[in-house]
Amino acid sequence: MQQVIKSIFYFGPMLFGIGFLAPLSAQLIEAQSWTPPYGLSPIMAGLVIGGCLGLLAQIRGRWI
């Protein structure tokens, strides 16, 4: 159990990127009526943005 909790917290930045930043980005795109490039839907674009930010934070150990 302890190992599971540790793993979840270890991958916190990735989880936050996909779990929160992705839908947040998608809803910001929709609220601003932006059209994502390459025919991506807002949620697909959000997943790209949130996933990339989360991955970067996961590797660097920091968001900023």
């Binding site: 909790i5 779990g19 929160f20 839908p23 968001w63 900023i64």
Partner: protein, 291 residues
């Protein structure tokens, strides 16, 4: 005793007797304001959610109110941490614990973690190895704000991460578990709201207010009253200071030296106790020049 009186010729024993006399006049006063503050602040923060979701108030206003709520949520719990509302074994002890547990919910800081780490902060203030709040030390105000942000990075060693390290070192996984439960509920709520189409609301009513609140709290409750934080010891590890936002804007921290000397004096009485005690503090060599 007049505020400008010179007591430097008095013995340590005489100074201690006078200090205790002043402190005794302010200890054991029931902090009605802190109790009302705790429940009112939490009630307003909870009420903001349906008010925003039902379009009764705009999201930007909810964000402003929530940020103020989160920022104000720590101090009532702090009164409880020091048993100021009611000591163990007394009739109103339940109220002390209720305030302690409930008030920091918006801040996502469990009461037991706050209390345990705060007691160590008092014991070891400014000790680089033992003070759990040492990571807030910084050379100036801008650096202090930046440090507060840096301390919240995933692999940071300071801030709340330092609290986790302390609890592991002291073999208190039971208290650490509170933190894990709080984090799971917090992020679970954010993720659920976000994937249900309410990401902006989650971001502006809890996630961002929490970041802003924690930064403000660490600046005024931790950095400002201990800066430069180079000395240790009862009369040297904190100070009084003049805030550009006044005592209210600094969350009552201008007179923090009183709190470290006599932690059971309620927050609202620290200004009065400070002015009564100032000649003693000067005789003791405290850093009280700014105020």
């Amino acid at each position: 005793m007049s505020p400008s009186q010179d007591l430097s010729k008095l013995s340590n024993a005489e100074l201690m007797r006078m200090e205790r006399e002043v402190a005794a006049r302010h200890i054991d006063k029931f902090p009605y304001f802190a109790v009302v503050w705790a429940f009112a602040n939490l009630a307003i923060w909870i009420a903001v959610w349906p008010l925003v979701f039902l379009n009764i108030i705009p999201l930007w206003l909810g964000f402003v109110i929530s940020t103020i709520n989160v920022t104000l949520s720590y101090l009532p719990s702090h009164e409880a941490q020091h048993d100021i509302i009611a000591k163990p074994g007394t009739k109103l002890r339940w109220l002390n614990q209720l305030v302690g547990h409930l008030s920091t919910i918006p801040l996502v800081l469990p009461y037991r973690i706050a209390k345990f780490t705060h007691m160590d902060h008092h014991k070891f203030a400014n000790d680089p190895d033992l003070d759990p709040d040492y990571s807030t030390h910084a050379s100036g105000p801008v650096q202090a704000l930046w440090k507060a942000i840096e301390n919240r990075q995933p692999r940071a060693k300071g801030g709340f991460n330092a609290y986790g390290e302390l609890l592991l070192r002291k073999e208190r996984p039971d208290i650490l578990l509170d933190g894990i439960v709080y984090e799971v509920i917090f992020y679970g709520t954010l993720f659920s709201l976000a994937w249900s189409g309410f990401a902006l609301e989650a971001a502006l009513l809890w996630w961002l207010p929490r970041h802003l609140g924690v930064t403000y709290i660490q600046y005024y409750l931790s950095w400002a009253p201990h800066n430069p934080g180079l000395a240790k010891g009862r009369y040297r590890d904190t100070r009084s200071f003049r805030s550009i936002l006044g005592n209210v804007g600094s969350l009552g921290m201008q007179y923090h030296v009183i709190h470290h000397l006599h932690p059971r004096i309620p927050l609202y009485r620290t200004p009065k106790a400070y002015w009564e005690m100032k000649p003693i503090l000067e005789a003791r060599g405290c850093d009280v020049d700014e105020l």
